[in-house]
Amino acid sequence: MTSGSQPNVDALLRDLAPQVLGALLRRFADFYTCEDAVQEALLAAAVQWPEGGVPDNPRGWLIQIAFRRLTDHLRSEGARRQREQRAAMQIPADESTAAAEPARGHDDTLSLLFMCSHPSLSSTAAIALTLRAVGGLTTAEIASAFMVPEPTMAQRVSRAKKRIRSSNVPFRMPTEQEWPERLRTVLHVLYLMFNEGYTTSIGSALNRSELSTEAIRLTRTVHRLLPEDAEIAGLLALMLLTDARRAARSGPGGELIPLAEQDRSRWDQAAIAEGIAIVTAALSKGYVGYYQLQAAISAVHDEAADADATDWPQILALYGLLKQMTDNPMVMLNHAIATAMVYGPAAGLTLLESLDGDDRLAGHYRIDAVRGHLLEMAGDHRAAVGHYRAAANGTRNIPERHYLITRAARIAAEGP
């Protein structure tokens, strides 16, 4: 998504985007129009700065251009809005001249994140809007990351903005009562954004990895602004520790390589070290949350020199804690795997049986994939093949389907 020769301009624009939008929103409350104006200012900068150089006060430059675009819009909307127009036409001196107002800029980023992760939006809409309004990405970039045509994405963003407008979401921090719930939604949107980029899809893996990179950048920003929140730290650590394995996760043809078979020399050790440091510090704060536990599990995997060296008893203990915190069936599935790794496949298979009645997992391919894996461990190859094939039929991810078909074929060839 970076324009290649101008990575610095792109990075600067993405950093400034939420600050510029914040400055506009304080003068003129209509999110829809302000956001459009900021996008136009960002596009103008992306064209002009690489040629003519970055202005001395880039933030002020962007605010001025955005205000100008905003007044143009309002003018063309006619006299109906004359009053607002007059208010907006005056570019506030403090906004355009202040090179950086750290405190205010930071609040703006957070307020915008809360706004874009509003519960009235679907998660897809919230991710797209967050990428544009907080991440400073263009619609074309977001469309390419989601592999949809640009007009489709433009429509999605526009509908999300209209919804924000019609539900009168205010541009401010949530109240103290709202805070925990709203923060959880923000973290969930960032988590989904990361996952969207992490699930490779054939041929387009490169574009999509940008989503993970962007999710890490935004989460890093939130972590910097709210360093005392242990769950934000946990989420950032989880992303870093997961993303560290990206290069080893697929082969040259895009085929999926499971954790146990990855070439660990290709893991990003710097990201692992950073993730471990963050999650260790977070856990020492006393409050243990969902993301921290997942990060801790990821850290245990990342610390093992090879698959056999994995500290499964510790992972099992962590899943035990996680299970008390959520009834997410995926956590139960992973708990069954960890149990099998510690106490043998039969123990894991018994746990899986208790999941058979769970409607949320009924027919889900993951349960077949895990059962196939545990049956293979138990030496029941014939049954394992059947479950791997059922899983291959059920997944919607092409590399995963190929992996499961090949796995089934390999065991079938070895005989029962």
Binding site: G203, G253, R396, I405, A409, A413
Partner: protein, 132 residues
């Protein structure tokens, strides 16, 4: 010119891959990957998709008052389903046919070309812009 290359199959042909050896599967996937890579490289690939197996298909017609009437699987063994497509933009029909033949020749059991039937269809264009 844009062409759709449509690959069809029955439930039986979808399932037949289950009897292949790992090497046969890998050779098949490699062939498709290489072709995809080449078409991407040459700029001819517009879009391409593989579809989930037909036993998960639903056939829908609108009934009274527009309410959906749904037919679920299993479907007759011989019923042909769309398995996937490539949309390519290339110089000529001849080139589209050449690409279709490469797709058709993907190796199957024993490494022998499968010679699957590929339907080549030209895509209708939007009307030309009016002269200014």
């Amino acid at each position: 010119m844009k062409y759709m290359l449509l690959m069809g199959g029955t439930q039986a042909s979808f399932d037949s891959m289950n009897t292949w050896s790992p090497d046969e599967i890998q050779a098949h996937l490699n062939h498709m990957d290489e072709l995809d890579g080449e078409l991407r490289e040459s700029g001819e690939l517009v879009d391409g998709l593989g579809l989930a197996p037909p036993d998960q298909a639903k056939i829908v017609v609108a009934g009274d008052g527009g309410t959906p009437e749904i037919t679920d699987g299993p479907f007759p063994e011989a019923k042909e389903f769309l398995a996937g497509y490539w949309m390519v933009e290339c110089e000529s029909l001849e080139r589209a046919i050449e690409i279709a033949a490469r797709t058709s020749a993907a190796p199957g059991p024993g490494g022998a070309p499968m010679n699957m039937q590929i339907e080549v269809r030209e895509v209708m264009e939007a009307p030309p812009a009016e002269e200014m």
